[in-house]
C-alpha cells in the first residue's frame, strides 16, 4: 500500500513553525507528535479544538499516527457537538483553551517542550487512511460527512502550493487569519506546511493591528492567508504591512475592486482560491487582473445539463460544483454566484434549508423562515428571519437559535409576523418575502 510521509521537504533541523516569537524545528514537531500520540486515549474520533495552529497540527498528526480521524464540523455549537457525539460514539475532544464541550471527554493539550528530541525516522501514513471527516451543514440539521484520505489531502495541498509557486519554499512563513478547523485554513495554513514544505505560523491574528504586528515579527519572506473580510479591514483601517511575497484569499467572493486595492496597497500579488468541501481546493485566479478561474494542474471540468463537475487530480471520482458556472474550456471558467440555497457569511457556510430547520425546531415557533436580503457592497450582509411565534419574543427566539446555529447566521433582525405569505402550494416566493421585509421595515 503506498504511503506518504508526515512531512515532505522539511529536514530535521529546518524551521517548521513559528510560535510565540520562537522557531520550532521539524524534529521538534516530530517529537511533539510522537509524544502526544502516546498520550491520546484509545478512541476512533477526535474533535480538535486547539486554538494555536501549531498545537492543532501536532494534535492532527498525532491522531493520524494512532489511526484516529479528526472531525471538522462547520461550527462548534453545543447542539452540533451533541449530535456528533451521538453519531460518533467514542468521540473525544482535544483542546488547549477554555472551550470545553460538556458532552465530550476532553483532553487538555500538554506542553511537550520538556520532552527531549527524539531521533525518530519520518512516519509514513498510508495514502488510503481516512485522516479527517469534513462536514457540510446539510439541510436537515444533521451535518453531511465527507471523508478525506491522507492521500487526497496531501495531493490537494501539493497542487495548491505548486499553483501558488511556493512548493518547497522552506524560507517562506505563512500567516493565516482563518482557523485551521475549517477546510480553507486546514489546507492553506496547516496542511500546506506539512506537505508543501513552507513554514507554519501558529497564531491566528484577528484585528488589523494584530496582523501587522505578527507579520513584522517574521524575519524572512512572508505570505498572508486571509479572507475578504480581513482584507477590507486592513485597507479600511489604513494599516501598514511589511513586504509580503503573496496574499492568498478565499471563503467568499472577492471583488475586483478590493483585490486591486490590496495589490496596490500591499505591493504583493494576490491569488484567490476556489474550492468546496467535497472536493477541496480546485482552482485559483489573479483577481486583480482577471475574473477567470484556472483549475489546479491535473483537474478538469465538464458539464452535464446545467451542472458542472470536476474530476482528475486529487478529486476522487467526479463531483458537482454547487455554484453556477460558465465554462470557457475544460480548465478555465467563470463563477456566477452560488445556487440560491447556499449562504456564505464571513467565510462560514450553511444553507437556508438548514437554518429554517433549526428555526422551526424551536418550541413555540409555529412557522418561520430565514431570508437573505440583496447583498450590498461594504458591510457584511446579515440574514433576516420572519417568525410566527405568538408566545415568544424576539429575544427568546434568538437565545434558542444561539444554541443551534453559528452566531454569524443569527438573524438581524427577527421580524415577528402573524403569518408567512405562503402561496397555494405552501411555498414562499422570494418576491413575497421581499415585500414582507419592506412592510416590516415600515413597522409590522
Amino acid at each position: 500500500m503506498p504511503s506518504i510521509p508526515l512531512l515532505k521537504f522539511h529536514h530535521p533541523e529546518s524551521v517548521f513553525a513559528w510560535q510565540d516569537g520562537k522557531t520550532i524545528s521539524a524534529q521538534r514537531f516530530l517529537t511533539d507528535v510522537i509524544s502526544l500520540a502516546e498520550r491520546l486515549p484509545a478512541r476512533a474520533y477526535v474533535l480538535n479544538l486547539c486554538n494555536d495552529r501549531y498545537r492543532f497540527m501536532v494534535g492532527f498528526a498525532a491522531a493520524m499516527l494512532r489511526g484516529q480521524i479528526s472531525l471538522l464540523p462547520p461550527s462548534h455549537t453545543s447542539d452540533l457537538v451533541k449530535r456528533l457525539a451521538q453519531h460518533y460514539a467514542d468521540l473525544y475532544c482535544l483542546t488547549d483553551g477554555a472551550h470545553r464541550p460538556g458532552s465530550l471527554q476532553t483532553i487538555s493539550y500538554q506542553n511537550l517542550s520538556d520532552v527531549s528530541l527524539l531521533q525518530a525516522s519520518m512516519p509514513e501514513i498510508p495514502a488510503t487512511q481516512v485522516a479527517a471527516i469534513v462536514f457540510t451543514s446539510g439541510s436537515t440539521g444533521n451535518p453531511m460527512p465527507n471523508e478525506k484520505t491522507w492521500g487526497a489531502i496531501s495531493r490537494s495541498v501539493t497542487a495548491e502550493a505548486s499553483r501558488l509557486g511556493i512548493l518547497n519554499r522552506g524560507d517562506l512563513t505563512l500567516l493565516g487569519t482563518v482557523p485551521p478547523q475549517h477546510m480553507y485554513g486546514f489546507e492553506s495554513t496547516a496542511l500546506i506546511a506539512m506537505q508543501g514544505g513552507v513554514i507554519l505560523h501558529a497564531a491566528k491574528p484577528f484585528f488589523p493591528a494584530d496582523i501587522s504586528a505578527l507579520l513584522n515579527e517574521i524575519p524572512g519572506p512572508r505570505a498572508l492567508v486571509t479572507t475578504p473580510v480581513h482584507l477590507r479591514a486592513l485597507i479600511t483601517s489604513n494599516t501598514d504591512l511589511p513586504e509580503l511575497e503573496l496574499i492568498v484569499c478565499a471563503t467568499a467572493p472577492l471583488s475586483r475592486e478590493l483585490a486591486l486595492q490590496a495589490v496596490e496597497r500591499f505591493g504583493a500579488p494576490l491569488q484567490e482560491i476556489y474550492g468546496f468541501t467535497e472536493a477541496g481546493q480546485i482552482a485559483s485566479r489573479d483577481t486583480a487582473s482577471t475574473d477567470e478561474w484556472r483549475t489546479f494542474d491535473g483537474l478538469s471540468l465538464h458539464q452535464k445539463g446545467e451542472t458542472t463537475y470536476v474530476s482528475g487530480g486529487h478529486v476522487v471520482g467526479e463531483l458537482p460544483l454547487s455554484d453556477i458556472t460558465e465554462l470557457h474550456s475544460d480548465t478555465t471558467f467563470l463563477l456566477h454566484g452560488r445556487t440560491a440555497d447556499l449562504i456564505n457569511i464571513a467565510g462560514k457556510r450553511t444553507s437556508l434549508a438548514n437554518l429554517n430547520h433549526h428555526l422551526n425546531a424551536i418550541d413555540g415557533v409555529l412557522d418561520g423562515v430565514f431570508f437573505m436580503p440583496n447583498e450590498k457592497e461594504g458591510n457584511t450582509t446579515r440574514l433576516a428571519a420572519f417568525v410566527v411565534a405568538p408566545e415568544l419574543d424576539a429575544r427568546e427566539i434568538l437565545k434558542a437559535l444561539r444554541l443551534r446555529v453559528d452566531p454569524v447566521f443569527l438573524p438581524r433582525p427577527i421580524h415577528k409576523v402573524d403569518a408567512l405569505p405562503r402561496n397555494s402550494t405552501g411555498k414562499l416566493p422570494r418576491t413575497s418575502l421581499d415585500k414582507l421585509l419592506q412592510q416590516c421595515k415600515r413597522g409590522c
Partner: protein
C-alpha cells in the same frame, strides 16, 4: 428590554452608540442601548466576532484607537458601552 436608558448615557456614549448602530446596521434606536449592558455574547446587544471587527474599524477611523486581540482587557473593554467609551477616552489619538 429597557427602552429608557438614554438619560443614563453621556454625550460621548451617545455618539459611540450611534457609530455602532450605523456600522453594524442594527435595527434598534439609540435609546435601546443600555450603557451598562454587555455588548458581546447572548445578552445585551449580542454582537459577534465579525461585529467586533467592524467596531474596531470605526474606532480606528473615528478615534485613532487600535484594538489588539492579545489585550487582556478586551473582555472588560467589551463588557459594556460605558467600558468601551472609557477605553476610547483613555487611548484616543484623535
Amino acid at each position: 428590554m429597557n427602552t429608557n436608558t438614554d438619560i443614563d448615557k453621556t454625550g460621548f456614549e451617545q455618539e459611540l452608540a450611534q457609530h455602532i448602530i450605523t456600522a453594524l446596521n442594527l435595527d434598534i434606536g439609540l435609546a435601546e442601548i443600555d450603557p451598562l449592558a454587555p455588548l458581546y455574547g447572548d445578552e445585551g446587544l449580542g454582537i459577534d466576532s465579525i461585529d467586533v471587527l467592524e467596531i474596531s474599524l470605526v474606532l480606528t477611523k473615528q478615534y485613532g484607537v487600535q484594538l489588539r486581540s492579545d489585550d487582556e482587557n478586551n473582555a472588560i473593554i467589551f463588557a459594556s458601552l460605558r467600558n468601551l467609551g472609557n477605553h476610547i477616552l483613555q487611548n484616543r489619538t484623535k
